[in-house]
Amino acid sequence: MTISYLIITAGIMSAIIYLVSKFNWKAGTILQTLTFLIIGYFLYHNGDYSSSQLAIFNNISLNFTYSYFNEIFLYLGISVMIIVSLFSIDGIKNYQYKPVYNFLTTLIFMSILGVFGAADFITLFIFWELMTWVSFFLISMGKKYSKKAALLFLFMSMIAAYLMITGIFLIDNAVGGITFSNLINNYGSISYSLKFKILMLFVLAGLIKGGVYPLHIWMRTSYSESPDSFTSILSGILMKFGFYLIYLIGLFFPVAFILKNNPSKLISELPSSTFFAYLAGISIIIGTIAAILQNDAKKLIAFSSVSHAGYILLAFTYGTSMAFAGGVTHILVHALTALGMFLSIGAVYFRTGTTKIDELGGLIKNMPLTFTTYLVSIISLAGIPPLFGFVSKWMIYQSLIINGSYFLAFAAFFGSIGSFMYVFRPLAGVFLGQRPKKFENVKEVPFFMKAGMLIVTILTVLFGVLPGLVLKPIISMQQSIGIEPIKASLYRLFSGLTTLDMLVVFTVFGAGFILALIIFLLFAKPTRVKQHEQYTAGEIVPELQTQPSIYHYAKNYYKPFSRIFDKFPSMEKLYKKGAEYLSSSFGVIEEFFYEESINGYIWLISITFLVIIAIRWF
């Protein structure tokens, strides 16, 4: 079973799912989950490492491949989609256009298969664009300001697409073909300056999609305004497209990685990789600080994604085998944790109708499983040992330490410690603290949403204890693309500096916990008290319960910290100022760009495409 057949199946199924959903949306969503499961199963069971073609016209065909270098991404995409789809069986109950939602997410699945399975750049581009357009419609199905967010998303994605298509044309010009194998064979014939141009175009496109500072501006609004289950896909997979592109282009243009362990070559070839590593460091710091200062839980996670995009970029551009493996692992870590965080915040939104941290509180009593998912995810995200997130961070740190990069290490540590601050805020504000009276009767989410969250939780713990499960395919990936593989067994990791044994860490932690439990149980049993029985300097509070936010400390949680950054500029405001200046200078163009409806914009895009095609073929 090759990828091309799977993609065709997904395409056909999207129509069927749409029809079924029209009839009964729940059945449609279940069908969607089953479809994803079956496709995943076929890929796992029958998939042989091979290439395939899908002919469209006589001489134009889409090329696909399934091999070591992309299998881990394929499985990541499929599993994220399965989990989200499972979650959606109950989770999309409140959405307005359920059949369309199911249809579009199935198309997203198809584009995931296409992008990760592509064997030439045009195929990659086509599915990439499919994803952009489908995402555009999906984002605009969300909350109040989602139309505006979708427009910004589309605008940024379009820039990425233009950059990428230009890069593809340059490759085609230089080597006379756009398949990956063609590029590898004729790599030597490309001149240095052209290499630099192509690399820059692709990397910039990837950075926009990956949401690295200062190109992150679409993320905040798109994440917070889009429908909740789609946000999980957006951060779990679609954001990773950008890094897949960087990873891919890095394979062909060995500037970022030491492909054959030749550091001198790296330095002479291009200074850009250092530049991008530093950009990544800045991205980590800015994303962290911005995330700390947010009040909306989804916006907070969006900025945390900026920070973690920085980690991935740092690992990819850093240039050691360990860092590279750490980067790929971090993609998985971030996909899993972002999934867990967005699903649990989505579950909170499902029941309470808000994601503002200071309006919520004390939900752990009502939604224990949601809380557990969130807790495990944030522990993993912050990189605390027995869980998955520690593995990737450990690998990235090890490579930073080996090479003594102080600023980058500083940035990485800053992001890591800062992540305690921002991940703890929703935990404290949403799940812990005092529960307002109006949320007293909130229930735990329905079964399928629970199931989706449970899977994420279990996977995070499992991969943390046995990182070898994930590292094995990464090792074979490294072997296949010619990098010296890292050394790892099922639960052991070896760097040049030291050994990490996750099983020992986990066991010792478990033993410590059990010992603590024994000591705890030895002494007198505590009495449970109500939440308003507090030390309040003698004042009595039950009356205050009618005013929820008075006694729940969630507003301005890091006020002292934010005072340090009072006078710092914001990149988004800078762009906005620039845009205002431009729009006042170019009044005519403004009419196209700032049209309330998007017709004018689509018209503009079509014209641009026509012009590009005309230049190319005539």
Partner: protein, 175 residues
Amino acid sequence: MYTKKLMEKIKNIIRGHSLFMLHYCTGCGAIELPPTMTSRFDMERLGIAPMATPRQADILLITGYLSAKTLRRVIYTYEQMQSPKWVVGFGSCTINGGIYYDSYSTINELDLYLPVDLYLAGCMPRPEAIINGFERLIEKIENGDADGWKHYKQNREWYKKNQKQALGDSLYTTR
């Protein structure tokens, strides 16, 4: 049986020598505490230290007159403390109202509302008297005589009745 008694004795000795008192100063007698705590008289050598919250405290000091409005808070605070816990009445105001015996807003006798384990007479008691009083309290705790908290638990209704008489029916109780 014997081991249980021995255990109880050990616990009492430990308790007696580690007394955390609550920083909830209700009356004018609180001014005598700073010299008692600091270099000159050094309460810490007896194992007595100030604590900021009733959850962590063992002793509730009522330092002087207690207005009815404060009594409500004091009762609430006392109920938030974890047993074993002790109440020390400080100055003559807590014994019989002192110079405020005819005030419309201060209570006359603390023992009706909270189980006082030790009174320190005087207006105000000097730090020497306070230290002396605390030594007496330690002695009582070691012997197991300071059992006001048990008494409060057993005769809750009687205390509640008195409290309600002084404060009206809207008294908030924790459990």
